[in-house]
Subunit: 255 residues, 2 copies
């Protein structure tokens, strides 16, 4: 069963402090629901997610699932939130790196890459949530959670750009705000992920390695803003590889 796959959004099987047996059972069951749901989505997208089949796989009745999640859409959003929380932790760890601000930003880039590798299903789910007017069917609490998380992610990165401006490494043109630079990085990242997760003819188009192109283009954009050290003067790619190996290799961020 795929529930033994790595990088599951599950909680550890150990008990949490001040938690009854019952509560633990419920928590573990919820994790199993999410794991099973994730597999079904990977298999057949939104339409592949089937409540009856989830029930059969976790060996509980369908009614029990609805005690955890108001509806199908809430399961999707729970998966997204789980991933986004992890990403936020990874970004914060990356932001704690000490060095020139542009290098710190590259460290965030490494975190973003590691995140994709930790949660290879995430962009599929996020895209479904963004597209299928699933949004409106979910509870405001979960929506709020997701927005807060995205906000904080953005904030973490914006702070680094501010740092670059403060240190004099980066001089933004008149009227350009740090948020716009982050928006650019985010756009490229999201665009690349969506294209590579939904186009099986990338190689035909002439893109052999989307992640290589991602790094390249993000770096060129920052070069375009004149943020020093320029990518010709510093081996950002080597730095990112190193950071990924040293900081983001283990599963310590899977919660």
């Amino acid at each position: 069963m795929a529930s033994t796959a790595p990088h599951l959004p599950t909680q550890p099987d150990t008990s949490l402090p001040g938690e009854s047996r019952k509560q633990r059972e419920i928590r573990l069951r919820e994790a199993r629901i999410l794991a099973v749901a994730r597999d079904q989505i990977l298999e057949g997208g939104y339409l592949g997610l089937n409540m009856d089949r989830i029930a059969a796989q976790i060996e509980y009745s369908k009614g029990t699932i609805y005690q955890h999640f108001r509806n199908k859409e809430e399961i999707l959003l729970a998966l997204v939130n789980d991933a986004l929380n992890t990403r936020l932790r990874m970004f914060r760890a990356a932001a704690a790196f000490e060095g020139p601000d542009r290098v710190r930003l590259a460290t965030i880039g490494a975190a973003a890459e590691a995140f994709v590798e930790h949660y290879p299903y995430h962009f599929k789910v996020e895209q479904i949530v963004r597209a299928a007017s699933i949004w409106e069917k979910t509870s405001p609490e979960r929506r709020q959670l997701m927005q807060t998380c995205e906000h904080s992610c953005m904030g973490t990165v914006v702070e680094i750009v501010h740092g670059g401006v403060a240190s004099g490494d980066l001089t933004l043109p008149e009227g350009v705000r740090p948020e716009e630079v982050v928006f650019g990085m985010w756009s490229i990242y999201l665009g690349v992920q969506i294209i590579s997760h939904s186009s099986d003819t990338l190689a035909d188009i002439g893109i052999d390695s989307p992640s290589r192109s991602l790094r390249l283009n993000q770096n060129r954009m920052l070069d375009g803003y004149g943020w020093r050290p320029l990518s010709d003067d510093f081996d950002y790619s080597g730095h990112m590889d190193r950071v990924k190996q040293q900081i983001f290799r283990h599963d310590q961020f899977s919660q």
Copy 2:
């Protein structure tokens, strides 16, 4: 009804040469189906698209719809193809512009912007098609059509980058292919469109004008590659505004 909205993917009501009354009726009916479907998707996404309701709105029975489209998903793909064909025509018109290659590329950017304004619903539909494992349910012919169209779009732009390299305005680093530059432009464009079409809190994050940021960041990326004239030495934004007004203002591209 919204079927009177501008920029419909409809064919003109006039007859085509060598077309019988019956054939014309069928063609017009198909256009009505697409127009009605588009409205339903805009209203409620993939789940808002309802075959019974389409039937009621076009005042034919459900069975008749299935004479035009094998299934629901084919309708989505038809909408996408319609839009992509138009985009290709717009891109080709833009590529015909004479001037420095980077200015020609900016003209393509103007076309891309005009396209978004002509087909404000397109990215919602494209996202659904990319996400919801709808792909597998559609006919190979239509899929092929879509891929060919994307291919040609890409090719049109790649040619301009090649031109830039040939003229000496752009010197690509060792091992970087023109396709990767286009991939970067495409990523930013797609990322921005998806974020702005599915996030209603952009202003909170600090992005007042996504399209302004799009232009800015694309230009900075090209600056990073050192493609002359740099965006500080040429008013690309002014050029794009002019082109949009002069070339892409009218509906001549709605077919």
